[in-house]
Subunit: 176 residues, 2 copies
């Protein structure tokens, strides 16, 4: 299937469910024949961003590098799905300006829910002071003021959220 390239960026707190929805969306798109790549913020820290930490400067560099790759994919007709905290509004605005075909999806799971779940144990570690610069605990998260879509994983399943994003891609004309 031919599709117009676009970057779908899932932003949200650690543990919000970004990677889960991203993977479900990718599976749905691939099943439709849409060329799709997932850039996972945690995963690229072993390749693109191995040298980076979690200061604001390093976070912005990480987001910019993922954005650079998403931009290349997007302009070649590929749906690039990024799942990365991207806590700073300015960095996200820069992505939109650079990439153009860009959808900002806020995975708006509340902090209490992310922290109560804490599947990776990182919230607990951050509270104990063992993890520095942890978004939501010791670092800010600037929630998007006007995302293209806001997902509430407390209200709906991850699969239902993926369907919602797929419908947005349809509406915006990205699925040919």
């Amino acid at each position: 299937m031919s599709a117009k390239g676009v970057t779908v960026w899932f932003t949200g707190l650690p543990g919000a469910g970004k990677s889960t929805v991203a993977r479900l969306l990718a599976a749905r798109l691939i099943a439709r024949g849409v060329p799709t790549e997932v850039l996972d913020g945690d995963a690229v820290r072993t390749s693109l961003s191995r040298d980076l930490g979690f200061t604001r400067r390093d976070r912005d560099s990480n987001v910019a590098r993922i954005g650079f790759v998403c931009g290349l994919l997007t302009r070649n007709g590929i749906t690039a799905i990024a799942a990365a905290v991207a806590p700073y509004a300015e960095a996200r605005a820069a992505l939109r300006a650079e990439i153009g075909d860009f959808l900002e999806i806020h995975v708006a799971t509340p902090l209490e829910v992310c922290e109560a779940r804490d599947r990776s144990g990182r919230y607990a570690a951050a509270r104990r002071g063992e993890l520095q610069n942890f978004t939501g605990v010791s670092d800010p998260y600037e929630a998007p003021a006007a995302p293209d879509l806001r997902l509430d994983l407390a209200e709906r399943s991850a699969e239902a959220c993926a369907v919602e994003v797929e419908a947005l891609l349809e509406t915006r004309g990205y699925l040919g």
Copy 2:
């Protein structure tokens, strides 16, 4: 035009003519409708690799990052053309192993020719000791033992070399 993705990596000394042939090849492929991206080693140092210097470790990181992006593009049917010194045989072998559809093109302009031309003035700066870790002067260049193609820009024009690479892509079945 539909094409099979491939990474075409131009390796060679600084000033050998890698970027020139890469751009000429890209123009020829784009004119044929082949989806093509150029990853220029110098250019990505302002985006993907802003933090990196020229130690062996940093060079290997730079090559690995460019390779990561080339791999994503390649598996999505895009011709990724990299123009980057990539002085270490081991790093180049890792690219081939990771990407699979990978052509190593040695732009084999001799050191004396690159240095005599020295369009960027970097050879002179390296000889004066103002540039450290400069490939060919104070850093090694491990010439490919068995490249897919060796280009001699002393013997032929850059355009003729681009045509030669295009012919190799044909032969190897990458141009549909």
